[in-house]
Symmetry: C2
Subunit: 309 residues, 2 copies
């Protein structure tokens, strides 16, 4: 497993909050310093700091390999596997999602910097040598999952552009001839007023192929940032056509470790395994822990209803 | 010339502002109605209405052909040439920019809808038959200009994503194998505090090839929305490398028709011709008129200075 590790400085002074960043020239970690008594600065969200609506992060993230023989007990590498190094990664790299295509692992991830939030691509054959393939979606865009095979000669991906003009955070679909260049952007699903996914939606897992269609596990949050998981079923041949969608979450924060932590009431997944009809789901809980759950795929499929859009 | 025609309803009641849109199902123009006394609605910008920071447009735009024998006197077609028809175009289509490649005209334009601002692509051989090629940049993204030839086997474009998280409106570069799918996004130039382009920048004209490099005329605005034109010089073979940039505008609002109109203090161009060392520039003035100016290319080139990034 590739895990996101978020680090932040420990401080004696409770009045100070630091926003770490990497100097692209020399790779050193530096800090912007903010005072909690500064009325111009918004500290209401533990994950971010807003200064005149401009976002900084309170932690800086990288990726490490975690190894397991049973899928439950993991040993995390002592050192970072992939560390932010590009100017577009100066505030960190987050949320890796891995698609295996023809023996090559393609990893999409959010690259956060003073220029916004991009999605970049890395490929690897062995998780030892990594090749950076640049920014495949420009700011602000995250939650990119690439389908595991070509459909009618094209690669497909779900992505989540943010429209500032319309204050939207919806799931879109794009296609590509080469996994690097993406076009034919289509709106796929939006938020739903009054429901569990009223605030924002985004792709979570790489879609699984089932008899019924492509099964996508996505995340949705309310406007108050309660994050749950739901599902989408997409047509096998024309994946921009929606067959079904979760009316209610397939999973929501219930346990103490899901409700309380660095940022509570969050379950958020970037990966899982489908084995013998069971979805083995790895997910972040409260932006603090990595947890594990098993779901029956048939239960998910039978819970879906036709989406209105 | 392809001109953007913006239409808005004439009303007897000064207290009402209408935001037009097209119903995708039947192509009919409908209106959202806003009352000027509603404190939740922001009417300070004549071009747009903001309701809880969500943007609506006060006009709806389409494209018409304007014909001329001398480049100065134009006859505008009675009927629309390209009219919004897609769900992504429900609030109108704006700012066409035409690149001629191998005998085919490729038109990029902003498609505005309830889902945000995309850039879409249309191609035509004859300006009679048009083929829609979909959204090539997802929300929010506008000011896309495609270079007129491949560079080292790839197509290149300038684009202007908006980062809500960092409140940025900068010029980026992307490349493409097929003009439809775009990747390898790179930050190119940003706004400059205290200068004429402190608020936002975006590509304006399709880049011209000169001995010195690719010459791009771009627009910059202050945070108070005063729009000027400047220039960028980019390396011929590695166009993401900046050779020079305008310290001061090459052109700014000076005349009455540039300073006063539907939205004053704006000059904004989407096209021009390079003939005998003269840039023949067509531009919008005050979001109300189309005006014409001639600039010496050598004057522009010699005014550029090395950009700091």
């Amino acid at each position: 497993m590739l895990v996101r590790v978020a680090e932040r400085p420990i401080l004696d002074d409770d009045n100070i909050v630091l926003a770490p960043y990497i100097e692209a020239e020399n790779g050193e970690i530096k800090y912007y310093e903010f005072n909690k008594n500064d009325p111009k600065v918004n500290f209401s969200d533990s994950r971010v700091i807003y200064v005149n609506d401009v976002m900084y992060l309170t932690s800086i993230s990288h990726f490490r390999i975690a190894r397991s023989k049973d899928g439950v007990n993991f040993y995390i590498d002592d050192k970072p596997t992939i560390f932010p190094e590009d100017k577009l990664e100066e505030y960190g790299i987050e949320d890796p999602r891995i698609t295996l295509i023809d023996g090559v692992y393609y990893i999409t991830y959010s690259a956060v910097s003073s220029q916004g939030i991009c999605t970049c691509l890395i490929k690897t054959h062995d998780f030892v040598n990594f090749e950076r393939l640049g920014a495949i979606f420009c700011p602000d865009n995250k939650d990119v999952v690439i389908f595991p095979e070509k459909i009618n000669g094209k690669y497909y991906a779900l992505h989540r552009p943010s429209s500032g003009s319309r204050k939207r955070n919806d799931i879109w679909m794009a296609d590509s001839p080469d996994l690097i260049s993406w076009g034919s952007h289509r709106f796929l699903i939006g938020v739903r007023n009054g429901k569990w996914d009223s605030g924002r939606v985004g792709g979570s897992l790489v879609p699984f192929k089932t008899d019924k269609g492509w099964l996508e596990i996505y995340h949705g949050a309310t406007v108050d940032h309660r994050y749950c998981l739901g599902a989408l079923l997409l047509d096998l041949n024309e994946p921009w056509k929606i067959i079904g969608r979760s009316e209610n979450p397939i999973m929501e924060p219930e346990t103490t470790y899901e409700k309380q932590g660095f940022f509570g009431n969050v379950i958020f997944s970037c990966g899982g395994l489908l084995e013998n009809g069971i979805l083995k789901l790895y997910y972040g809980a409260s932006d603090m822990y990595v947890a594990y759950a098993e779901l029956q795929v048939n239960d998910i499929l039978s819970s879906l209803v036709k989406d209105g859009y």
